[in-house]
């Protein structure tokens, strides 16, 4: 009964679309002629500006309050603007439009806390991590039926469509099987705010998202939600550019390395993420600290 309802809800992209055609559009994009290839740092300097895409509903990384962009990435962006030496133009759009935009060359950088996953490194190059982004689950406050990870067996879980929370499910399934459990119903959402609402409405038993966003949620609504445990391997979030755009990744990495060494990283992390990560690796790593081949 949950399934058809949730499928309809999870679209949340307007009445005249279907998931299938959305997927078709995504598939078509990389197939366009090569003129859509990414701009190298050289090209960017020549034309005088770089276009970055950020999200608008991803607290504490990127969000918008009364029309004003805020958060960890937005503040890093404002520092980048001062030091870049060229104009940095920003487009704010939903997650579902960001990766197609970078893949098609419309944007140079996905300046968003995108989790580095096996799936994504096939078509994107990542910078050094800007945050840890291990997945975890959140449950309703006081829900005694979930005490630890193994209790997620058979429960209805909320994830984001095309998000890292979705991609971690196979790992969760393996974990649950070890204790004789199984993966229950999974509902995909366009936005996490709706998943949280459905958790409150008892349509879901737990929502999977990264530890940083979940700890922000729990500190905002301590009476409603309760932080669970980590799910899957340790993973990282980083900015992304089109595959093989080495000059641009090097440029961004140099900027990030500078913020790390002068203490800005830590300061912004404690300000926005309310956690600091002292041992972020100096190269993008796949979940489980595996190097990218």
């Amino acid at each position: 009964m949950t399934a058809p309802l949730s499928t309809r809800r999870s679209l949340a992209l307007g009445p005249r679309m279907s998931l299938a055609s959305f997927a078709v559009a995504l598939l078509m994009l990389p197939a366009w002629p090569s003129s859509a290839s990414a701009a190298s740092l050289e090209d960017i300097k020549k034309r005088g500006y770089m276009i970055v895409a950020t999200e608008d509903d991803y607290p504490p990384f990127e969000f918008v309050v009364d029309g004003k962009p805020m958060g960890y990435d937005h503040e890093l962006l404002s520092i980048l603007r001062k030091s870049a030496g060229f104009e940095v133009r920003q487009e704010i759009l939903p997650w579902q439009g960001i990766l197609p935009g970078v893949a098609s060359g419309k944007y140079d950088v996905a300046l968003s806390a995108a989790v580095i996953t096996d799936e994504r490194v096939k078509s994107l190059d990542f910078t050094v991590p800007i945050s840890e982004s291990t997945m975890a689950y959140v449950k309703r406050k006081g829900d005694a039926s979930i005490k630890s990870l193994k209790d997620l067996s058979g429960k209805t879980l909320g994830v984001q469509q095309g998000g890292a929370s979705f991609q971690v499910l196979p790992e969760l399934e393996v974990e649950l099987k070890k204790t004789g459990g199984k993966l229950g119903n999974v509902v995909q959402y366009g936005a996490f705010s709706e998943a949280y609402q459905d958790l409150v409405n008892r349509r879901l038993d737990a929502v999977i998202h990264n530890i940083v966003s979940l700890s922000t949620l729990v500190s905002e609504k301590p009476d409603v939600f309760e932080f669970g445990q980590r799910v899957g391997r340790k993973s990282y979030a980083a900015w992304a550019v089109q595959k093989n755009n080495k000059s641009l990744v090097d440029f961004l990495n140099a900027f990030l390395a500078q913020q790390k060494s002068n203490g800005t990283y830590k300061q912004l992390q404690s300000k926005w993420l309310r956690i600091t990560f002292d041992d972020l690796p100096n190269q993008p790593l796949l979940p489980g600290d595996r190097p990218i081949k």
Partner: protein, 216 residues
């Protein structure tokens, strides 16, 4: 409850919804008429082109179509900003539906009147302006207004390319308050008011037309 500043922000989103919808309607209604005229011409090429256009666009979901225009066209050397891309996507979409409405009205138009006009020595274009158009637009009005309301409700699709309309604003607010209900209820009320206004305006116009011309 929503804060006052948040309500104001939501209204800015409503302004964007009204802007893109009005521009798309203003361009899409006449474009639909042109397509319908091409469709009812004798020239086979024109007829075919218009039919293919209508079928393709009516089959493509607005989100897909918007992404195609925004992310796909740069490959052909046409790079648009989000707002023009959104208006163009909605215009091309609504024009395809409007074309079918206009076409039905044109095909329903009594042949005899047109033949009489031509026999009186009117050229084709004069007959269209003086005889055909004044009647088909009145006949098409209810269906055109219906398509306008559908367009407004399809407009949140353009958020995918970064145009912050009413629905997207509601989602941004929900993302930071963790309570989607208040902003979405507020957005639903604003949509309701806007559509009620449009429908009421259309009804008044229809009524005054009926008084002047009898039944449509």
């Amino acid at each position: 409850m929503l804060k006052w500043s948040t309500m104001l922000d939501l209204l800015r989103g409503a302004g964007m919804t009204v802007t893109v919808s009005c521009l798309a309607i203003a361009a899409g209604v006449p474009l639909g008429l042109l397509l319908a005229l091409a469709r009812t011409r004798r020239a086979r090429g024109l007829r075919w082109l218009s039919a293919v256009y209508s079928s393709f666009v009516r089959a493509a979901p607005v989100v897909t179509f918007t992404m195609l225009i925004f992310f796909g066209l740069p490959a052909l050397g046409v790079s648009l900003d989000p707002l023009p891309a959104a208006v163009i996507a909605l215009t091309l979409n609504t024009a395809a539906f409007n074309a079918e409405i206009w076409r039905a009205a044109i095909m329903d138009f009594p042949r005899g009147q047109l033949e009489a006009a031509l026999a009186m020595g009117m050229t084709g274009s004069v007959a269209f302006r003086r005889i055909v158009f004044p009647q088909i637009w009145r006949a098409s009005l209810p269906a055109l207004v219906n398509e306008m309301t559908l367009l407004i409700k399809a407009s949140p699709a353009v958020a995918i390319i970064g145009v912050v309309d009413l629905t997207r604003k509601a989602r941004q607010i929900a993302a930071t308050t963790y309570e989607p209900l208040p902003p979405f209820v507020a957005a639903a009320v604003v949509y309701g008011l806007a559509l009620a206004l449009l429908v009421a305006g259309a009804r008044t116009l229809e009524r005054s037309l009926r008084r002047r011309y009898g039944t449509l």
